[in-house]
């Protein structure tokens, strides 16, 4: 499938670096949905994205308060919706409005799938063979992302692997 690209990293700092490189190509209104088991590196990747967006504040896990915002070259909306039980509740957080400004990264975003717009980059993080090995799969959904996937993948060429 054309809308799929795969990458691999072997340290948390490489995952961060991938996020940083990716962030340089992100634009206002981009939505990234991160999925993957506990410890797969969702927050780690987001920290890299933060660096790439020029955010100086420390990006920590948003699990407790659900949503955090940081200002950089673009605003970063960082959400962890693992505990968000009800889809309408995410809309009470004014999700549609959040999505309009800056880059939005949603950890465990698949849980509120129906509440999210169609245009999104789904990033699946998984464990590899070694302790620190991670597989990172991009699934471009919607015109906004399918059109850019080749550009993104070539910028991340260092880490690209066969899917």
């Amino acid at each position: 499938m054309d809308s799929l690209r795969c990458f691999a990293t072997d340290t948390p700092s490489a995952t961060k670096e991938l996020g940083q490189t990716l962030a340089e190509l992100l634009t206002d209104g981009d939505l990234l949905v991160l999925t993957g088991d506990l410890g797969a590196g969702k927050t780690c990747l987001t920290q890299g994205i933060g660096v790439g967006l020029g955010i100086e504040d420390r990006i920590t896990s948003p699990t407790f308060t659900i949503a955090s915002q940081y200002d950089g070259r673009l605003r970063l909306n960082h959400l962890d919706v693992y505990r968000v039980g009800q889809i309408s509740e995410t809309l009470d957080l004014d999700l549609p409005e959040l999505l309009e400004t800056g880059v939005t990264v949603i950890e465990w975003g698949e849980q509120i799938d129906p509440a999210l717009p169609e245009d999104r980059l789904v990033v699946r993080l998984g464990y590899g063979d070694g302790d620190d090995d991670r597989s990172i799969r991009f699934e471009a959904q919607g015109e906004r992302w399918t059109a850019r996937l080749d550009t993104l993948a070539s910028a991340l060429g260092t880490w690209e692997v066969q899917c």
Partner: protein
């Protein structure tokens, strides 16, 4: 004489307390929602907000009954206005502001983290600053230098997951149930804390002057270990994981106390209910010959008495908060 009624609804405890002069606890009622959320493996915000709305009225009535008071005896009303879950916070803030309006007394919005710092003084009002306070909960991991009441510096905090979050996530991974802290605490007593050598995040010699924490790597190390050693017992995993967390927390807090020449060290936040942490913290403080306060578990976990204590001080020093106050989910501790 100031009698403050305080409301705490920042997360999953609905709490009301009445405190005289900042230290004398006349009523301290806490209604926990843990049973409700256990089913979902964590606090579900909308469920929490609904439960606060249902529970607040009876909890308030019980607090007034316990203190043998009515509205006319109350001099000020306070509420936690952050950090916490926005929908949950707003129930408490709305209730407190309405009471202030009805009773015609000042309203005080209180920072939840400052409340935890004041929990210390509820039990030992004569504790002398400067102090180093280790605040550990589901949402926070902080080492605070308390120079004087109202004067705080953050010496260190987590760069990824909070300590309590690590407990919850490891318990979730091992299928031990929710909340993770008490389950792991209990299970650890049956296991060997030296069975598995888990990494101590940011604790190497090169990091001696660094009081920040990292628990994400530890969480991943537990997961990796289980993947490779499916035969490992939950008890050994729990004991070894807990030992790693406690080791980092206590070592860093004591190094910070040395660094600022603190007269004493205190423990606060929900994770401060952990038995092993309480034990190690007291031992190490005793070795250094400095004051040590490990509050009763009831004052470590979320409660409104600590909010009333902080409100009493804030009211005397900064005056009341306006009735146009709202809630801020990511509210930071006010620092100098």
């Amino acid at each position: 004489m100031t009698v403050v009624l305080a409301i705490e609804t920042s997360c999953d405890e609905t709490a009301v307390a009445i405190v005289r002069n900042g230290t004398e606890v006349l009523a301290n009622v806490v209604s926990s929602q843990i049973d409700i959320h256990a089913e979902f493996g964590g606090v579900v915000p909308e469920v929490a907000s609904r439960a606060h709305l249902e529970m607040l009225e009876p909890v308030l009535t019980k607090a007034l009954d316990d203190a043998g008071m009515t509205g006319t005896d109350i001099d000020a009303v306070a509420a936690t206005h952050g950090p916490g879950l926005i929908g949950a916070l707003l129930v408490g803030v709305s209730e407190a502001k309405a009471l202030a309006l009805a009773w015609d007394v000042p309203y005080v919005g209180v920072n939840h983290m400052e409340g935890h710092l004041f929990a210390t003084f509820l039990e030992q009002p004569d504790l002398e600053p400067p102090l180093v306070v280790l605040l550990v909960s589901g949402g926070h991991t902080l080492i605070v230098h308390l120079e004087a009441l109202g004067r705080y510096r953050i010496l260190g905090s987590t760069i990824d997951d909070a300590a309590g979050e690590a407990f919850d996530k490891v318990a979730r991974y091992l299928d031990l149930g929710y909340p993770g802290g008490p389950v792991i605490d209990r299970l650890a007593t049956e296991g060997d804390p030296t069975a598995i050598k888990f990494p101590r995040g940011l604790l190497t010699k090169g990091n001696v002057g660094d009081f920040d924490f990292s628990f994400s790597g530890l969480k991943t190390a537990v997961i990796n270990y289980v993947r490779k050693h499916p035969e490992a017992t939950d008890a050994d995993l729990a004991a070894s994981f807990q030992e790693a967390v406690v080791d980092v927390l206590v070592t860093k807090a004591m190094r910070a106390a040395d660094h600022v020449a603190a007269k004493g060290v205190c423990l606060g936040g929900g994770v401060a209910a952990n038995s092993r942490l309480r034990e190690r913290f007291a031992e190490e403080a005793a070795e250094r010959g400095i004051d040590c306060l490990v509050p009763a578990r009831a004052f470590c976990t979320d409660n409104a008495a600590m909010i009333a204590a902080a409100a009493t001080w804030r009211l005397a020093n900064d005056g009341p908060t306006g009735l146009d106050d709202g809630a801020t989910p990511n509210l930071a501790l006010p620092t100098v």
